[in-house]
Structures are given as structure tokens and as C-alpha cells.
């Protein structure tokens, strides 16, 4: 999975000589990722932009105390906290659709999905997943964070990232299989 620079990750960081980039350079580079994650959390363009703005302001204030490792995860974690704060304060939450999770061995899981169905509906169905699964799939599969980075971003252990990710993918595949069955 595409994490950071492999040389930095394997040699430089363990030697303790990792040098933190400037806030502006990091923040500007991460805006598209933050926006997509915010949009996936809020399901709303204006709210997503507002959330990224809040995140960047909070990150700028906290930049001096940040250790410089996993900046993307760090920013996403701030964003997620800001989102939770918004939800609590305004008691607003994106509308989620209740979906059932079947046994992993269910026949729907194993049937072949047509590429056409997947391409047309994948993001639409991803946005319908419960938040914890939507975020795990979004971070690991769309934004290509490693399990470790996603764990840092969500503030959960790597094992929990995997279980949410695998279950989220399973739910997504079930949704896509259901659509395909309906189309046939």
C-alpha cells in the first residue's frame, strides 16, 4: 500500500533524524485528501469544505507540538474530531441507510460482479455504509493509507482497522451484488 516514502519510513525515521516539513507545504498537499475524506463523512460539499477549514486552522495551531510522523493521519484525525464536534453541537449527521450484514460464506459474496455494475455504483453504495466502515474503506482503499496510518487517523488499533475494513468491503460487495441481482 502507498504509505509515505519507503526510504524515509525504513531508514530515516527509525534513526530519529526525520525532519518536519513546513506546515504550509504539508497542508496544501493534503487538501484534496482531506476534502474527499470530509465529503465522505459528511456527504455534503459545503459542510466538507467548512470541516477542512476548521481542520487546517486547528492543525496550524498544533503544528509546533506535532512530531512530524504520519502527517496525513494526523490531519485526518483532527478532521474526524472536528466532525464529531459538529455532529454533537448541531445534532446533525448524514443520513445513513441501515443495511444487513450476512455471513461471509453467503452466496452473494462469491458471485461474480460485473465490472459495469461496480463502476456505476461503487461510490454511491460506499456512501451508504455506516460511518465506521465507510471511513475505513475510504482511508485504506480510496486514499491508500496503510493499516497503521489508518489506525493513527481513526485513533484505533491496527486490528480494529482491519476488522472494520474487511467488514466494510464485505458490506459493499453485498450491496453491489444486490444491485446486480436486481438488474438481471
Amino acid at each position: 500500500m502507498a504509505g509515505g516514502n519507503p526510504i524515509v519510513d525504513t531508514l530515516v525515521k527509525p534513526m530519529g533524524i526525520y525532519r518536519k516539513a513546513s506546515f504550509e507545504a504539508v497542508a496544501v498537499a493534503e487538501i484534496p485528501v482531506l476534502y474527499r475524506v470530509a465529503r465522505r463523512l459528511t456527504l455534503n460539499d459545503a459542510w466538507a469544505e467548512d470541516l477542512v477549514g476548521q481542520t487546517l486552522l486547528q492543525a496550524a495551531k498544533a503544528w509546533e507540538s506535532f512530531d512530524g510522523q504520519f502527517p496525513r493521519s494526523w490531519l485526518i484525525r483532527i478532521l474526524q474530531n472536528a466532525y464529531r464536534h459538529d455532529v454533537r453541537r448541531a445534532n446533525r449527521r448524514p443520513k445513513e441507510v441501515a443495511i444487513e450484514d450476512h455471513d461471509a460464506q453467503g452466496e452473494d459474496l462469491w458471485q461474480e460482479l460485473s465490472g459495469r455494475i461496480i463502476e456505476a455504483h461503487i461510490y454511491e453504495e460506499l456512501d451508504k455504509l455506516p460511518e465506521e466502515y465507510r471511513l475505513a474503506v475510504s482511508l485504506c482503499d480510496v486514499e491508500e493509507l496503510s493499516y497503521e496510518e489508518a489506525g493513527e487517523a481513526m485513533g484505533i488499533p491496527t486490528g480494529t482497522v482491519k476488522s472494520r475494513l474487511f467488514r466494510g468491503r464485505r458490506l459493499l460487495r453485498q450491496r453491489l451484488a444486490t444491485i446486480q441481482l436486481g438488474a438481471e
Binding site: 474527499r36 469544505e49 487546517l56 461496480i118
Partner: protein
């Protein structure tokens, strides 16, 4: 097996774990379909990152970051 196949599909497993998942899938048609479909789904998400990012929003947020940076610099110098 589902976990091993998930990790093989997203490329996070290496060495023996990856070899075992692929070797199993080569002889098990159900797991092979599962692995192929999952790999295709993940590749699709990585290739076409959605939703598209609104360039106007990016420009406004970039301006915000630069403004904050300018204020911080002025504070440090002053």
C-alpha cells in the same frame, strides 16, 4: 481465509501469507472469484478517487493556509 484474501487483494500481505492466499485461491474457485472481484473493486476505488474535489474549494482552502502561514510568520518576526 477471508482476512488473508483481503490482504492479498489490497497488497498489504507479503511473503508466506501472500503466497498461501494466492496458492489457495488458485485451487479454490470460490476464493478465486472472491479475490478477483475484491481486487477489481479496490483497484477501481484507487484509480478513480471520488468524489471529485471542487477546485474552487481547494483554492479557498489553499488561500486560508497561506493566510495562516503569513500571520504566523508576522507574529514570529514581530
Amino acid at each position: 481465509m477471508e482476512g488473508l484474501l483481503n490482504r492479498a487483494a489490497d497488497g498489504s500481505s507479503k511473503g508466506l501469507a501472500r503466497w498461501y492466499a494466492l496458492a489457495h485461491a488458485a485451487h479454490c474457485s470460490g476464493c478465486k472469484k472472491f479475490l478477483d472481484n475484491l481486487t477489481r473493486m479496490i483497484e477501481q476505488m484507487r484509480r478513480e478517487k471520488q468524489p471529485p474535489v471542487d477546485q474552487g474549494a481547494v483554492d479557498r482552502l489553499t488561500a486560508l493556509v497561506r493566510e495562516v502561514g503569513a500571520v504566523e510568520s508576522a507574529t514570529e518576526q514581530g
